[in-house]
Amino acid sequence: MSSITTTTPTKQPIARSRGLSLRTKQILLAYALVAPVVIWRLFTTIYPFIATLLLSFQDNSPIRRKAEYIGLENYEQLFQDLRVRESLGFTLTFTVISVTLQILLGLGIAELLNRRFRGRNIVRAINLLPWAMPAIVIGTAGTWIFNTDYGLVNDIIWRLTGNRPLWLVEAFTAQLAVVLIDVWKNTAFVAIIFLGGLQGISGELYEAAKIDGANGMQRYRFITVPLMLPLILSMTIFISIFRVLTFEVIYALTAGGPGSATSVLSYAVYLEGFRVLNFGYASSIAMLLFVIVLVMGIVGFVFLRRAVERL
């Protein structure tokens, strides 16, 4: 790593022109080439992020025409706010359940798509459709897919069991509906990445194990799992962070309801910021969201490193 950051002189002859060495000119050119990306990100994320942090210490609302420093009051309110607490709770349960399902199903689907069979390319393409579709479309369609009387899901359940559960009306089933839509939409992405991982494992390993008399389960347990583990672990962190930031499905399918049973922190930021126009308080919820993402990133990174090293 350090070898990349240090300025090692290149082997090229140092041609002097306009007082600058070739190497210096190259470095200046490199800075110029990197500048657009860096400046673009500074203005659209770093600067507004710092501004959000500052806003979170303010009572700031454009409709009340207020902008004054109030210290930690927003944060004090945050920890007593039942709605925020519920949103935090569902954000975390939703993440854990949805990620677990996606990792397990993703592994299974990857295994399926890795087999040789006729029409495999078509099935691989079909697998990508939910990924390619706008999240807001499936979230919106979910409102009638989960309709009690005419919905697709209840039609199938009714044909199989004779029951018609109320999906979006009750807390638990509404939460389940959110998880199901999320899994339906996003497992394809996980499966494709695992498929790439499986394809990277040399076939010779399996052949050798076969000769040594290992059966299918053993080969999976002792070859596939250990070799895939780093990928599985890093994907777990990666998609967990994405789950914490889920917005569209909640916005379209349940609007956080019933009550705030399916509200998540991102949705709470949206409501507080752009419906109530309470910029200061919304910013403090956003900071809570950021802290969760940060902790997940750091904890995940450190633990994964250790887990991978132990292998």
């Binding site: 990197v34 990306v37 673009w40 990100r41 009638w144 993402v293």
Partner: protein, 284 residues
């Protein structure tokens, strides 16, 4: 011997069944959205459902196209997705090339900084951006949205292009350098042709990401000048004389199809490139 054969046969059937269930789970909801849009009147909404309708009509499409500025929304969507994908590709290529080939001080810092900045979700930046956009008169403009669309694409695109460029052996460029090729010529004539498949894939993925963007336009697009097709979903609800639910759902489905078919066609057509792109970005 026969039991072995039978076992093999049974396993094949089981596998086929598994594939069938998988395909059905994915396709049924999509098929159902199509049905909702195309079936005439309230005919779909029978209990139990009618899966094979006899009356197909385009009435919902005519409805939404008549009463909403759908064409303008589609134009905005295409413009934003194409332009942002191209801009991101160009400036990320330049940055990635500089990062890999010129070992300038701070090259790693740039890469790590980009990764770290992608940990700042839109929800933690959107309020100040909203205030900034109001002062700068960027609200409800395509260029304002474009800035944010591109921004969202920069970290991943740079990282993926860096990993692609690293796979090109430096010797190829060294040989060209000996022949006297300069920086720009080397990028244009040597590196870019080798990168073309990766660039195409990244462009496609960015186009799809741009097409599907919803949160950014939800906050920053307030009128016909900049609204995108996915925003017509909720608008379609109130279209038409009837407030019947099948009317609303039908209209929304028609918009859903307009918002989805283009990305579906791309995905079906470029399945292999997209699959490779997603997995190479993650595994590297």
């Amino acid at each position: 011997m026969t039991t072995f054969q039978l076992g093999k046969q049974a396993r094949r059937i089981l596998f086929g069944l598994l594939v069938l269930v998988f395909v059905l789970i994915i396709l049924l909801p999509i098929y159902y959205i199509f049905l909702t849009a195309f079936v005439a009147g309230p005919r779909l909404f029978t209990s139990p459902l009618t899966y094979f309708p006899t009356n197909i009509s385009f009435e919902r499409f005519v409805n939404v196209l008549d009463s909403l500025p759908i064409w303008r929304y589609l134009f905005n969507t295409v413009f934003l997705a194409v332009t942002s994908a191209v801009i991101a590709l160009v400036i990320c290529l330049l940055a990635a090339y500089a990062i890999v080939r010129v070992n300038f001080p701070g090259a790693n810092l740039v890469l790590i900084g980009l990764l770290a900045s992608s940990m700042l979700p839109p929800f933690t930046t959107v309020i100040p951006l909203f205030q900034m956009y109001q002062t700068l008169k960027l609200m409800n403009t395509l260029q304002g949205l474009l800035i944010l669309y591109v921004s969202a694409m920069l970290p991943v695109t740079t990282w993926v292009l860096v990993s692609f460029i690293r796979q090109i052996p430096a010797e190829i460029e060294d040989a060209a350098r000996v022949d006297g090729a300069e920086f720009w010529r080397m990028l244009w004539y040597i590196t870019l042709p080798l990168l073309r498949p990766g660039m195409v894939t990244m462009g496609l993925i960015n186009f799809i990401v741009g097409w599907n963007e919803f949160f950014i336009p939800l906050i920053f697009a307030r009128g016909i000048e900049s609204k995108v097709i996915t925003m017509a979903l909720s608008e379609a609800q109130s279209v038409g004389s009837s407030s019947q639910f099948y009317q609303n759902w039908g209209n929304m489905s028609a918009v859903a199809i307009l918002a989805t078919v283009p990305v579906f066609l791309l995905t079906l057509f470029f399945q292999r490139q997209i699959t490779d792109g997603i997995s190479s970005g993650a595994i590297k």
